[in-house]
């Protein structure tokens, strides 16, 4: 039956209204399906699952107590894995609480579900590294530069979540954050970035042929003095020697010879926010980390020179320093993106999410430059750091913090061995000579990782 036109018009409008409402219901269903886990995170009904390490050791247990666990069992991962108390943010548990819920829209809240996060961390190695710090504070982070799995992440002082924050007022500063994700002064490790800029500016042969003389103190053209840590001077050096000696006058003169734009270009590609440009934070698995920043104004200026040598305005997170090493170690110029969650399971225990190895979209420098820096760093490792006992390529750094009141010791680098492809960054705070060194910790860490 063909209905009368004037009636059909009314019907069409009616059906239009019904369709709009129906679409609205569709949006509602979509919203509920998508956001139900988020709503559940505000509910009292839901229980949380466990976090495991790569060897199925428990890293987080919502029902943990001193009766079921060793007193210091969680100490090394306290501020990395965290807990659900809400006292800490930017920890694995606090940022992924929705993934940990024993909940699915179909089954509702399931008290004894099998939801879990399987982390890439190696708890045993992590504990070993944590203990290796002894009485010193600092941070150590290491990851597999081929796959991106973060294997070790230690930040000391840490917090023992089994204490339930009963002593929160007595906790030392920095206990509740993982320092690997926050800014620190990079010190001479910044010279890697400066070397990369020099390689891109002059080319390998051009740079190799350049020599500068160090008399202990270099006076800039604005009549400012750049002191070397060896006031006797290093004499005339090329880049390899200057890098090994970490010679400040050498790099000051190198920076002076480079156009400012070239340095800014290389730094920007490496993810360093130069001169108040907006910094791209490093994001992975819900966590967010400072990347790096600096200020460069004039290559003949004292502050710019020091910024290129990791002092003055230069800041970087240990995570970022470690990531740069992956681009060098792989000799690809591409950063291997890090991840801390290997896979997650849902209430029924089936795998819901699986991490994949990904690389940064853009080269931070060309593959050629990467392999040239690798060579320089390897030589440095061979000649000065054979005590580590692995074929490492490294750059050390000593960062003056608190206006020179204390010095942090840094060591960044990579193990050039396809069977143990580890990139690392170790920071020991307020180190004085004679105490445990960064290379000792790296050695301990590589040994621990090699065993597993």
């Amino acid at each position: 039956m063909k209905s009368i036109q004037s009636i059909r018009r009314g019907e069409r409008l009616t059906i239009l209204i019904l369709i709009v409402f129906f679409l609205g219901m569709g949006v509602l269903v979509w919203k509920v399906v998508k956001e139900s886990s988020f709503y559940m995170s505000h509910s009292d009904d839901v229980t949380l699952g466990m976090v495991y390490d790569r060897n199925n050791q428990i890293l987080f247990d919502p029902n943990a107590s001193t009766e079921t666990y060793d007193e210091n069992y969680f100490l090394d991962v306290g501020n990395v894995i965290g807990d659900d108390s809400g006292q800490m943010t930017n920890t694995l548990v606090s940022e992924n609480i929705e993934k940990l819920q024993n909940y699915s829209l179909i089954f509702g809240a399931t008290p004894h579900g099998k939801t879990a996060i399987y982390s890439t961390l190696d708890h045993k190695a992590n504990q070993t590294v944590y203990n290796a710090f002894g009485s010193k504070n600092g941070t150590a982070i290491a990851y597999n530069y081929q796959t991106g799995e973060i294997l070790v992440c230690v930040s000391k002082p840490s917090v023992n979540i089994l204490d339930n924050y009963s002593n929160i007022s007595e906790l030392p500063d920095g206990s509740l954050i993982c320092k690997a994700f926050y800014e620190t002064t990079p010190g001479s490790t910044q010279k890697i970035a400066t070397t990369a800029a020099a390689l891109e500016t002059f080319g390998y042969d051009g740079l190799m042929s350049k020599t500068y003389t160090c008399n202990g103190i270099y006076t800039t053209k604005y009549n400012q003095q750049i002191k070397c840590h060896d006031l006797n001077g290093h004499g005339t050096q090329n880049i390899v020697q200057g890098f090994e000696n970490s010679c400040n006058p050498f790099f000051a003169q190198l920076v002076q010879d480079m156009p400012l734009d070239n340095i800014i270009q290389t730094y920007t590609r490496m993810g360093i926010a130069v001169n108040d440009t907006k910094m791209q934070k490093i994001q992975f698995d819900g966590l967010s980390s400072f990347s790096a920043s600096t200020k460069l104004t004039d290559t003949s200026d004292f502050d710019t020179m020091w910024s290129c040598m990791g002092q003055s305005e230069a800041l970087a997170s240990p995570l970022q320093m470690m990531l740069w090493e992956s681009a060098i170690a792989n000799a690809s110029g591409k950063v291997t993106e890090p991840y801390l969650i290997d896979h997650t399971t849902n209430v029924t225990g089936s795998t819901k999410y699986e991490a994949k190895t990904t690389y940064g979209e853009n080269n931070i420098f060309s593959a050629e430059v990467a392999s040239q820096i690798k060579q320089i760093m390897r030589q440095n490792g061979q000649e000065r750091y054979s005590s580590i006992g692995y074929p490492v390529g490294v750059k050390s750094g000593t960062a003056q913090v608190q206006n020179g009141a204390s010095e942090n010791s840094l060591l960044v680098g990579f193990n050039d061995d396809p069977n143990l492809p580890i990139a690392f960054c170790v920071v020991i705070e307020d180190r004085v000579s004679g105490e445990i060194s960064t290379s000792d910790i790296v050695s301990t860490m590589l040994n621990a990782l090699n065993q597993n």
């Binding site: 209204i17 219901m25 829209l105």
Partner: protein
Amino acid sequence: MYKNGLTYGKCTTIVLLTHIIMLLAILLRGKYDTPQDILPLAVAVIGLDLTYSIVLRFLYRQMTYTLDFVLLLLINISVMFQSCFGGVGFAAKHYVTCIVALAVCQVGFLLTRNHVWIQSKKIVLYILLGVLILSILLLTGSRSMWINIGPISIQPSEFMKPVFVLICATSIREQHEKKKILFFYVSKEMMILTGAFIVIVGLQWWCRDLGSLPTFAAAYGCALACRLCYPKAKFSKKTIIGISAIAAILVALALRFAPGYVQNRLSVDIWNQMEGDGYQQCKALIAIAEGGLFGKGPGCGSLYKVFASDTDIVFSTICEEWGFLVALLSILILMAMMLLPMINKPRSYFHTTMILGCVAVLIVQMGLNIFGSCNLIPFTGVTIPFISQGGSSMITSGFLAGMLKAGQSPVFKKPEPKKKKAKARKAVAAA
């Protein structure tokens, strides 16, 4: 054999079976002390099923009965929903209003099935609207929508809805009574309608009851669309753009100069104000998530403790106890009720526009309630027809359902001038 010659065995059986299955679900999953607690509910629901089927069979003279069965299905489901909030019991008050709604549905049907008759009474409708507006102005407390008579509170603005829908409905004859004012051909009736709408908007603004404003706006918008598009056949682009521009400007102005509490409500970030303005919505959303697709079980929820859990956020309460699927399906029943007139099409332009108005009012109410409580749109305190508790809204919804039914079983008799009153009396007597 019903009056139209069909047997409704299948319908009766499936309605009864669905209710029995739901009662069984309450028995098997519900929260109660002893199984006897379910008995009053079971007796009431099955009793209403059987009684209404008998009433339909012997007392109602109409051409279509499907809508009555859908209504019965929905109303008893609603009784079961309301009875189970926070523990199985029996919502006697809701049950009574449901029966009243069924009766009012029949009244609405009888009053509107003959469009020639109701059109001849349009002046009465205007008077009725005027009386309702005056009653709001004079009888309600200062700036509220409620009249309190002892234990009963009535919301007259609810009753304005079906009256307004009837005023909006039009026939072809009315549309051709036009006069030229300046450059436009305008019908006198259209002017009165617009006047009535402006008065209602003003009243709602004054009463600070902006929740039901969109309902009237929708009904008026549909009436306007019908009238505007009629002489042009196709939606003239200029007209549509012009009207939408004016509407957009009006809405923007309204939002700009809205009272502070309205603007606050429009910009609530509920998760940051979980203990404040966003409390109800947060609880509602959490409840939907907690229920999951299949619910916690009748009476096992916790949302009933939240204010307005049986009216404004009733959808979430149902979601929590019965599951998202059942809640969606109960909305589907409501939509099915509105789709029925689209299957069995009305035969007159008046009924078409009337059904359009009813659907607009019902859908907008549902939309405001459900999407509001789920934070898709600002939260307003309106009810879901038939599912929320509330006497005034139940009666109004019943009347609107009766109007939907009238479109399907119309009567085409022109009342003879002398017998007019007798016929009207007869119609009321049949109810």
